[in-house]
Subunit: 322 residues, 2 copies
DNA sequence: CTGAAAGCGCTAACAA
DNA sequence: TTGTTAGCGCTTTCAG
């Protein structure tokens, strides 16, 4: 059997309540403090957070639901969430929907059964917002990152995707480009739909049309093939916006030596290192994660939970003469 | 207040014990089953796993400690762990040491306080194995992935890194290459030290010496710079082994059009998509994660926990005429 | 097949 | 400041 607060109390010849109080920061007579500390190290006591959570009704754990842990964006945001939360003594329970095959609703229930103090969802797809009902009903603060859902009782954090894409287009235009194409992902995915919309709007504003709109799989290979498609079907193209990082890497290879200007998302490090002619829209992953975590922490600390939409701006890095 | 098993019992006019028994798979009279199910959906009951864990002494949660969630290898292994564990109804509590700044010992204690049923550590550095003492003392099964620690009371899962590197060298040799270099990471890191050792051994066996040994930072940029170094300082080089994925991508750019044969780690998808001349050593991330998770599950299921070292073999993909 | 009672380890009143 | 008591929500003997 494990060593409990009772054992410490016995060893220190005090009551469990006193030990508990001390552990929670209350003032205790110096000699008792020493006795407790001594007993703790001697017996190797580690506080049982489950028992504590059961009593206090706070688990100091938050659930993070993401579609795919292997995705760099999601992993980056998750890392920031973890960092912020860990600093406050919280743990994170991660659920990767992709390889569990469970529905969001089931996953939410699973996490509720784990008594999470908050829920952060990073799911790019277009699942119905009702899958969060159970959590909201239990007053669990919910933050959705990187997409918009049709509900006003949760916090949503998104990038200004339209403006980010439009910015890239304007950069191309002012650089003299007139035949501008886009390599994008499925319209089912919020971010890609928005980026495409921003792209088209900015072009329309300049009185132009896209030289090509090519759908690609969200992989290096997808970007590679999409680039080849542009080369053959819209050879007049001189500039291309690519709406995801992996596709950007593939597209760069696909274009090879062709003098085609490229801008992508999240490829800042990649560009800075090996392709300084490649412009990058950089999503503030750290900030998104930190904000999400802080929202949960604030709610857990009793601050009134104010749902709403937080829209962040992307950084634009143009490197050498694009 | 939340709806508990008592509420269900009251609603169904049964005792909590009966409801609990039913929930745990015991046989109940059909009418009672219906009454319980009915009450559950009516009241929206979700079982409190913390209370259950406290009683049963099993949290159905395992802790995963990794150095950096943003690292593709770690994320891939973690995803496999998550998938396997989720299927068994387990949750995973992820701790990213890099951005919490906590020591491994502290993190282990944190996870113990969360009553984890097992611990999986994916830390490439050379931290002393004693940081796992607390977990072992509590009979928590521990699996360490991707490095070897000097203890025989835990399970360790590693790749046969030496053999993997040697295989790449033999491939180069049989392809007619004689001036072979390596771009590698810090010797402090188990995997890089092993791969370098295997590289040197295989060359020595063929009576040759490395044409260059270049240390790089484990990033795209690091690989890029290392490639440039080889170009200037060992221009006779015709083949290069790179010991990490990001460095491989950087090196490919660094070498540009030069006719230098390359082999890297974990770049299979990348190569298949855009550089079919690039050979790849592929680490079985999924298998590593699955094995780790299964070990924990087996131990949790009461099977005797047999510590030891599991050595896996890498896949070798040579693509077009390397 | 069902119920009563005890307790997992902890905290929160309240009393001393 | 410290101790007593009760109870978080669940499971688990042991009777019935």
């Amino acid at each position: 059997m494990n060593v409990t607060i009772k054992d410490i109390a016995a060893e220190a010849e005090l009551s469990p309540a006193t030990v508990s109080a001390y552990l929670n920061g209350a003032r205790v007579r110096a000699e008792n403090r020493d006795a407790i500390e001594c007993a703790i190290t001697k017996l190797g006591y580690i506080r049982n957070d489950y028992a504590r959570a059961l009593k206090t009704r706070r688990s100091r754990t938050v659930g993070v639901i993401i579609y795919d842990l292997s995705d760099a964006f999601a992993a980056g945001v998750s890392a920031a969430i973890e960092g912020t939360l860990a600093q406050a003594g919280y743990g994170i329970l991660i659920c990767d929907c992709k390889n569990t095959g469970k529905t969001l609703t089931e996953t939410v229930r699973f996490l509720i059964s784990k008594m999470v103090d908050g829920l952060i969802v990073i799911m790019p797809d277009s699942t119905d917002g009702r899958c969060l009902d159970a959590a909201v009903r239990q007053n669990i603060p919910v933050v959705v990152v990187d997409r918009l859902m049709d509900r006003d009782d949760i916090t949503q954090i998104v990038l200004n995707n339209r403006e980010a894409a439009a910015g890239a287009v304007r950069m191309f235009l002012s650089g003299g480009h007139r035949e501008i194409a886009i390599i994008t992902g499925s319209r089912e995915i919020y971010t890609h739909a928005e980026r495409l919309a921003g792209f088209c709007e900015a072009l329309a504003q300049a009185g132009r049309k896209p030289s090509a709109i090519v759908d690609g799989e969200l992989t290096v290979e997808g970007g590679f093939r999409a680039a080849k498609t542009i080369l053959t079907e819209a050879p007049q193209t001189t500039a291309v916006l690519v709406t995801s990082y992996l596709m950007t890497v593939g597209a760069v290879f696909g274009f090879g030596d062709r003098p085609i200007a490229c801008a992508g998302f999240d490829n800042k490090a990649f560009s800075a290192a090996v392709r300084p002619d490649l412009a990058a829209v950089e999503q503030p992953k750290e900030e998104m994660g930190r904000l999400a975590a802080q929202r949960i922490l604030a709610a857990a600390a009793g601050e009134s939970y104010a749902p709403g939409v937080i829209t962040l701006c992307a950084g634009m890095y143009s490197f050498e003469g694009t």
